[in-house]
């Protein structure tokens, strides 16, 4: 049992340690209260359960998307493919674009539920917020997965590790004549 006064690691140590936690790069997207699309690059996305299909997304309370992820809200979790680094950078605040202008990076299409989905992502999960739990600086958002869309050709996954983008998996050498699948 830990007491409140027991020592915790410094945030510096936390950050340095977490740099070693390789993560699949995701962009979480939703609609703000005013109807404008909002999005955020996140690696704090975790598979939760297959029954019911659900996942966890952790977002800082101060992030612009936080207010859009209230109980019952619809959102998407897009698993980025190699080649979508610019999208990750734009939604990670590493480009000048703010707010809606971030959506100029990547090809975004609204689902039937009006949720922005990233075309070319390996997977786009359409989710509904089932529960939000707060922990210190962050909201822990449990999303019930309503639908999953897969890219026609799966490509290498974009991952983030030691402050750099990399990839896991393979990409087909050239786009095939996939036609209508």
């Amino acid at each position: 049992m830990t007491s409140e006064t027991a020592a915790v690691a410094s945030s510096e140590a936390f950050r340095q340690g977490m740099r070693a936690l390789a993560g699949s790069v995701c962009v979480v997207a939703a609609n703000g209260a005013d109807g404008a699309p909002v999005g955020l690059t996140a690696t704090a996305v975790t598979s939760l359960s297959a029954d019911p299909p659900s996942l966890i997304v952790c977002v800082n309370r101060n992030a612009s998307i936080a207010a859009a992820l209230g109980q019952g809200a619809q959102f998407s979790v897009n698993l980025l493919a190699l080649g979508q680094e610019e999208v990750a950078q734009a939604f990670g605040g590493q480009k000048a674009a703010k707010g809606v202008a971030r959506f100029a990076f990547g090809d975004w299409i609204r689902s039937a539920q009006d949720i922005p989905l990233l075309m070319g992502a390996n997977v786009s999960f359409e989710c509904e917020v089932a529960q939000v739990t707060d922990w210190a600086t962050h909201h822990i958002v449990i999303g019930l997965i309503r639908d999953a869309r897969f890219a026609q050709a799966q490509t290498a996954a974009l991952v983030y590790h030691q402050g750099r983008y990399g990839s896991v998996g393979t990409t087909p050498r050239a786009p095939k004549e996939d036609g209508d699948v």
């Binding site: 109807g35 404008a36 809606v100 202008a101 959506f103 100029a104 299409i109 609204r110 786009p175």
Partner: protein, 365 residues
């Protein structure tokens, strides 16, 4: 509905589309009996051929009156929002532009109409933003040509962006628009808005394109002159942190032999051109247009009759692909194409030219 990225964001290195099939004559000013009459059934046929062949876009012109001459060329033309809506239901995958005159169409109307087509088509809508050049057309609407057309255009696209960006009523106060409590739902399927293009030639128009358009269409007299437009646009776009793809326009005569193609080109664009209409078109555009360079007017009357001053792709399938390869090497991302008769000529073009484009590395699908 299957969600797909807009066709213009697809993988082909050199994208192609059909231009001006909504208007009498297409882009030609000719009196040959098979000239394009732009009847709806023929338009649908042409669009479906292009759609099945995997061409990326269908781009109409916006015309409110014709250029006179024997056939009153372009006088018959379909309005482009309703045109695109009709084609959206008749096609599966091709991008569908609407060509909209900023001074004539109110932005709140445009936002709703464009979103409607984007929904009908499943995210295939595109907006070609034009300021207009023809005072005779504006006179029909009681509108004066404004000197600061692109200032108005910038406000116009701002209004549309805000329509799509919020579900809360908003006020807009600019120099041209003073709007109260605007709402426009649904928003577009494409986020944050459908793809946009324009065809500006002068600096104010290109700066407008740099800020507000995804694609710029530009003509050139010779392929070797093309690069300057690409570089000019690239610089202007980079200055505002954006990318703008540059496309061109070509009129096509593709035949089995070079001789056959050239003879037909001369027949429809010289011998049997609608000369009175060519005179009117060239005179009025020379006086008011900023969309072509001066050389194009003086040197290329044939090209005006052939395809409104655009570049001619005339010859065998091999020759045409060779030319497109050169255009691509100048930095162009694609071309809008016109034909004397789209539904007669597209099948041969798609059967013979598209496979060669693949071989040449211009297209992967």
């Amino acid at each position: 509905m299957m969600l797909k990225p807009h066709p213009l964001k697809g993988p082909n290195r050199f994208k192609i589309g059909v231009f001006s099939a909504n208007a009498d004559g297409g882009l030609a000013i000719t009196d040959v009996p098979e000239r394009w009459r732009a009847r709806w059934d023929d338009v649908v046929t042409a669009a479906q051929i292009a759609d099945r062949a995997g061409m990326e876009f269908f781009l109409p012109i916006a015309r409110w009156r014709g250029f006179g001459g024997k056939n009153r060329v372009r006088e018959h033309s379909f309005e482009t929002f309703t045109f695109a809506a009709g084609l959206a239901s008749a096609t599966q995958q091709i991008g569908l532009f609407m060509t909209v005159h900023v001074p004539i169409v109110h932005p709140v109307y445009a936002a709703k109409a464009l979103a409607t087509v984007d929904h009908i088509s499943g995210g295939r809508a595109g907006l070609n933003i034009v300021c207009g050049w023809n005072p005779d057309e504006f006179a029909m609407f009681g509108i004066q040509l404004a000197g600061d057309a692109y200032v108005q255009a910038a406000e116009w696209v701002d209004v549309i962006a805000q329509c799509y960006g919020t579900n809360q009523p908003f006020d807009f106060k600019g120099k041209f628009y003073d709007l109260k409590q605007v709402v426009s739902r649904p928003t577009s399927v494409q986020v944050p808005r459908p793809v946009t293009m324009n065809a500006a030639f002068g600096p104010p128009g290109r700066d407008f394109a740099a800020r507000n358009c995804d694609y710029l269409f530009s003509t050139f007299s010779e392929i070797a002159d093309g690069r300057q437009h690409v570089e000019d646009m690239r610089e202007r776009a980079a200055a505002v942190g954006r990318n703008v793809g540059v496309y061109t326009v070509c009129h096509v005569v593709c035949r089995e032999t070079q001789k056959e193609a050239e003879e037909y080109y001369t027949r429809y664009a010289v011998t049997e051109a609608d000369h009175a209409a060519v005179d009117y078109h060239m005179a009025s555009k020379k006086e008011f247009a900023n969309s072509h360079d001066g050389d194009a007017f003086n040197r290329y009357r044939k090209r005006f009759a052939g395809g409104a001053g655009s570049y001619p792709l005339v010859g065998t399938p091999e020759k045409i692909v060779d030319e497109m390869l050169k255009i691509s090497r100048e930095g162009y991302a694609g071309s809008a194409l016109t034909f004397v008769n789209y539904s007669y000529e597209l099948p041969f073009f798609c059967d013979r030219v598209l496979p060669l484009m693949k071989q040449a590395g211009l297209r992967v699908q």
